[in-house]
Amino acid sequence: MSYVFYPGCSLDSTAKGYRLSTEAVARAFRLDLPELPDWTCCGSTAAHQSNSLLSLALPAKNLLAASGKTMAVCCAACYSRLKVANHQITNAPEARGQVASALGADYDGSTPVKHLLEIIRDDVGLDEIAKRVTVPLTGLRVACYYGCLLVRPPGVMQFDDPENPTLLDRVVAAAGAEPIEWPYKTECCGASHSITKSEIVERLSRDILAMARDSGADCIVTPCPLCQLNLDLRQRDIEARFGERLGLPILYFTQLLGLALGLTPKELGLGSLIVDAMPTLARKGIVARPGFGAAASVRARG
């Protein structure tokens, strides 16, 4: 299948590590993900709350530009907006007409949208991941956190079981880590209130972090940059506010996958995480203990 890659603004700004690791992993798997030229915002910002036409026209503009290729997406919010736009435009003729007049071109809602997880599942295959692992993540207990945008609304997203998705768990298991059973895979982190009502966000994010910790996770991985940001960036504030230690690194799933493939922490942008993942990874023997230098930081297979 041939793709165009839609990075979205998060991957261009707050989620640089996601972008780096996505590109590194794509290279490792020989996935060709050329960036969509001249892409614009997907509308997941204030747009979709304030103006319904904008919320469709913005993603439609990008989808139209994909011109027949499949849109590859990493950001769960972008994924959501793009799929919702396709759904609305396909199912509501009046919406299609409005979008057409806004864009000056008719878009029929037919550009396929795939999340990187789906691309890895379909084009790489979980068996292939297992074969390509050079640094098995043995003993690393991972809480797979999907967030809400990837799976909901289920009728539109059709991503996985909306209540108990397992795709990320299977990818993580293929990489040799141990995905834990925990009940908050799709719990809301409060990202939509991230700016306006941070005390709500902190409470919601705290519940997720505490549940992961209590379920025995060493770290959380997520495919959503908004979730990652909330759980990672706010973790210190949360610890201070609730007076408890959490200390959970929040990795993009591509970072974890990259480690298993033998890519270096630097290539994967691990350095930009707020909660340092290196001590945990070192404790599990996935990277060398700090101080041994980058060259020796990846455990070679015995």
């Binding site: 079981d161 909306p162 209540e163 108990n164 925990w182 009940p183 549940m211 209590d214 379920s215 025995g216």
Partner: protein, 1486 residues
Amino acid sequence: MYQDDLPTGAVLVYGAGIAGIQASLDLAEAGFKVYLVERSAAIGGRMSQLDKTFPTGDCATCILSPKLVECGRNKNIEIITLADIESVSGEAGRFEVRIKKNPRYVDLRKCNACGDCAEVCPVSLPSEFDRGLGQRKAIFRPFPQAIPNVYGISKAQGTAPCKQACPAEVNVQGYVALTGQGRFKEAYDVIRERCPLPAVCGRICQHPCEAQCNRGDVDEPVAIRDLKRFAADWVYTNRDQFAEQALVSPPPEQTREERVAIIGGGPAGLTAAHDLSQMGYGVTIFEAMPFLGGMLRLGVPEYRLPRDVLDYEIDQLLNDRIEVKLNQRIGRDLTLDGLRSQGYAATFIACGAWTSRRLNIPGEDAKDVWPGLGFLHEVNPGARPQVGPKVLVIGGGDVAMDVARCARRLPGVEKVDLACLERREEMPAHAWEAVEALEEGVAFHNSLGPTEILIENGKVTGVAFRACTRVFDEAGRFSPQFDDLQVSSLAADTVIVAIGQGVDAVSMSPVVTGPGGRIVAGPETLATNVPGIFAGGDAVLGPASAIDAIAHGHRAAEAIHDYLRGEISQPGAGTAAETKVAPNPNPSARKQARTPMPQAPVEARRRDMREIDLGYSEKDAIAEARRCLNCGLCSDCRLCEKVCAPGAIFHDMQPETEVLRVGAVILTPGSEELEPSIRGEYGHGRYANVVSSIQFERMLSASGPTEGKVQRPSDGGPVRRIAFLQCVGSRDSARGNGYCSSICCMSATKEALVAIEHIPDAEIAIFCIDIRAFGKEFDRYVGRAKAEHGVRYIRAVPSRVVEMPGTKSPRVRYFDERGEERQEEFDLVVLSVGVKPGASVAQLAERLGTRRNPFGFCETDRLAPMASSRPGVFVAGVFQEPKDIPESVAQASGAAASAMELLAGGRGMMTRRHEYPRERDVTDEEPRVGVFICHCGHNIASVVDVDAVKREAVGLPNVVVAETNLYTCSDTTQDHIRDIIRKNRLNRVVVASCSPRTHEMLFQETLRESGLNPYLFSMTNIRDQCSWVHRDDPAQATQKACDLMRMAVGRARWLRSLEMRRAPITRAALVLGGGLAGMTAALSVADQGFDVHLVEKEAELGGNLRSIHYTLERTDIQEFAADLIGRVKAHPRITTYMSSQVVEHSGHVGNFTSEIQGPSGAKTVRHGVTIIATGAVERPTEEHLRGRHERVSTQRELEAQLASGGLPPDLGESPTIVMMQCVGSRNEDAPYCSRVCCAEAVKNALALKAQRPQARVIVLAKDIRTYGFRETYFQKAREAGVLFIRYTEGQEPQTSEDQGLAVRVTDAGTRRELLLRPDLLVLSTGIAPAPDNRALSGVLRTSLTADGFFLEAHPKLRPVDLASEGVFVCGLAHSPRFMDETIAQAQAAAGRAATILARPYLEIGGQVARVDPLKCTACMTCVKVCPYGAPTMNGRHKVEIQGAKCMGCGSCVAACPARAIQLQHQENRQLVAALDELLAVPGVPT
């Protein structure tokens, strides 16, 4: 005998839940033949799974079981289980129904349900009956009270993949299952049936079975081979425990003269020799080598197969019919022709594949270059060939691995390299072999093609290679390509070439050979071109596996056997049908890693040839075997067949079809529960402590998987806090169904109350939208749950259940009544799953041509609720609409009545009555007692010494015969008992066996058939009372059995023949009430051919029906009413009595006399039954300014208004209309729900919105109880803009007159007080019992409920019967209900009435009470205590008991102060005699 002009007097009832059972019983009792067709193995349906019933608290099984037994015993009900309808042709009155009967694999008539089969069955499967909470065996009985009370086997559609994959057809699932049970010897026996070398195969088999194992989809395949090895090793280690014969195959049944020669003593030859010797042939094995075993010995390294294991198994396999000649090579020592002349009638060539392929490169013939097999032939018998320190193996297959690993173990070898053409992942060797070789230090060099063996000074120094760029072409064929420019070399001083083997069968001429020197033989028969000569194994296949060789050995033996008997084998015959592979029965099985095979440490392995794999421990083996998913369900091990004493098991049963001729079909297929996972956020299936309501029901049941203990499935821990989550899949059009399942609110309440009985300190919360307790006595029940037991009803739909880490306690998140988010932890969460039509029912409806409604239920009309869209096909129970047990039972009786109306002319045409021989008069005979003591298989005899009981019986006075029987109840024993009675002129029979409840009638029947009065029989239960309860104390159990037997004999001596009287029946019904219920009942009874006296107190017919103008579904109710009244008036069999009342009612069932007081005086009528259909009234009220304000009306008035001219125009286009529910009901004065008012309000609200779309319609209610499909109208009303405001109990709305009408109400959701100013206030005042019910109940001597409605005999199973036999109730006189429910009940009453009116006579049982007039003092005590009204005072001032009313309970006997009453068959002297025997008082009079 069929008559052309009459309908067929038989009915097919499809689905044997409580509805189907009730319909069948009614029909059979009323003179119709019934075929009760059930898809599952037993009748009983959903009710059999329930623990208790609401609101009565009865044990569901206890009240259902007698119905099951009754159904099983009725001679006119043919129960056909495991069957389905294929097609229905013909028309109403004359259908032909084709049914398909699936095999049970157990003969219904032979099985005695002793359970020995299930005891030995090794296969445990999740129990469907317990919804996966418990386990059952592959041969099973769904529940202990099952009818038919027999076992059955579940087999998958297809063979288990492991068994299918085994070339030798070893029953893999069978031995794995037995191993899992710790029954290793039996497992070994199963293996040995098809594999004569279990320990060998258990070590070296390539296990194609594991590749196909379905467990592989879940995690990893079951370690089948390792389990096989374990079973064999275990048996050999413990061989002292077994007789010698137990380890070898039994000698043949017959010996045969022909002798067979076998060439080659490898696995193929040995297997063929074994099989042929078992068939009775003499066999000679000619082996070229000095030992047997072939490639097993020379090809397989010792570290994989120790020699002692091989030697021992070969020894076990040989016997005195097998002669072994070693060192005999064809072509050298003997010829094929020579064998024939020596008298061998057939020959099997299994000479193997022994030539090593060559590289054909320079230097290959040097001294230190070994062919792979040649090397192994040196090493494996124990020699230690001289090889240099650096060994290079060429080849990438299994033999190369063997060679390399053997070389690695030789003394002096320092380094072993292995070079092959293939890339690492392409190497043909098994992955585990390669891994083990690597572990042992063999170095692999991939993608190398050897070009020359380098030699210096005559000694090998190494091998030169070029790069191999490709081994296989695109089509996967071997077609190597090389790059001559990339060259390399490896140093070595010994080279071993292991690149494959070939066959050299030139010496076998004239047998034709083909490619690669292999012998050409037919794939099925293994016959060569020479008649009488067969060939198999590697000689035919080329180098293959041991299991393929064994398979060929079997096949050759069978082919030779056929050949020698002159039969030509049919290739493939009989196997084609078995090619279907069973699917994975449990793809979502919990993951459990394969048990690793313990291995010797790598260091130890490099040093010597000792075995690497160490074998499983018993614990390992059992754990590993239990990973098996039992894909075939039954494993076909056939152990059940072996232990079944009556010989009832037939594994080869096939499906059958049968065509039944019936006049009508009644559909009662019931429902399925919705998938609890439909609400994924509640985590069913993901969280262990979230169960479905039916699972919880099983958990509560004493016969359930936890024996009634409520425990957390996660850890078996205690449960205290339970949450019920209602409406899972119901009232949820987005994910589930838009309708209400009607039963869940009450069943959750019941489960809560039962749970509290089990756990006194339980804390229970029921999360619900509404509490729909709309049935008779339901609101009281909920009230008790709240007030007495503290059950919390929380009005919330929880958003999520989360399993807490560590504790695994489910936490429920919801918004509480104050609107605040709460998270509450529970020990257990129960999901109240709704009901839906079964998956198979859709196809059934298709085949029947009956329409289904949008939800998939049977489509019916509210005014003809039991009629499907196809005439002659009726429906009842949940398949019509979700409903509870009494409504299902009533509908079933109603559907039966519908069929009886249709088939009235065929009544009695297909039923049969038993004719008995003339009864012998035994009055003057001395007692001659026969005692029959039952073994009940092992059930009794394994604990009670039945022979001791017999010996004791033999010594008793009057006992003429005493014997024991394996199964006293079996058909053959009945013949035998009849025989003994005749021969010995017995006049009393005693059976000591099981429960009289199930079996007494059977034996009494046998007595009647022998010309004895059935009351000359005495039965005692030495199973339940002795062997079951005193299992641990056989001596005392036996003593007790002796005591019980003696008591029975003592009583038997005094038993008398009792006369069963017959009374005539008056074939007419008295129907009281001319409303919808009365008219419907009257018409149904009359249409069935009986006369009806219909009494109506008003001057015209119609009753409440006259004030109903439209329903939610229809607008033509008044036309319907007019038509109904017309039909009643016109019916020739109905006499109407208008403006009349019954003032006197006497007599008993079958013969009542009533006095009807009418305008023109009194009239006396005689009738066999009475039907009460006197209706109820709209509750009068003065609340809410009713009667004082002109804008306050009732729903009924509003309906009349809307139906006639619509709302008054002065209300304007957008009036505010407030409807107020529960006015005057569900309060202390009338603590019951009127059931219809919510739907009535919705109905009128919708009508209002239709007439005035701008109207604001507001409904104030505590709950909205639009159950069943009416829920969809509730939704429509909300969509139409009708506003529903909920208020809470105790905060009822207040109405005042304050600038017009003012209604104040506090909204329960927001807790805000609202002030409404309605232009019209409509009160839902509900239904009140008719004021004259009390007087009427006095006349009829029946009881009323506390609310003033008529009290039925049993709220669940006898909903329209009253306690006095022959009196029935229906319609509003029973309880508030809708028109469709009234029609169902009315027809039910008519159907029940027919079961009496259709009898030729009334049979009055022998066990009735009798009054001695000389002793009677007329104190009337008996009249007061009798629950049935049987004793009456006669003209001579003495009490007489009406036999027709007496139920034989004995209450009057116990109560009579003058001891004037005796209960026949339980007379004092009979009971005293029994007690005397117990206390062993000598000198008992005889």
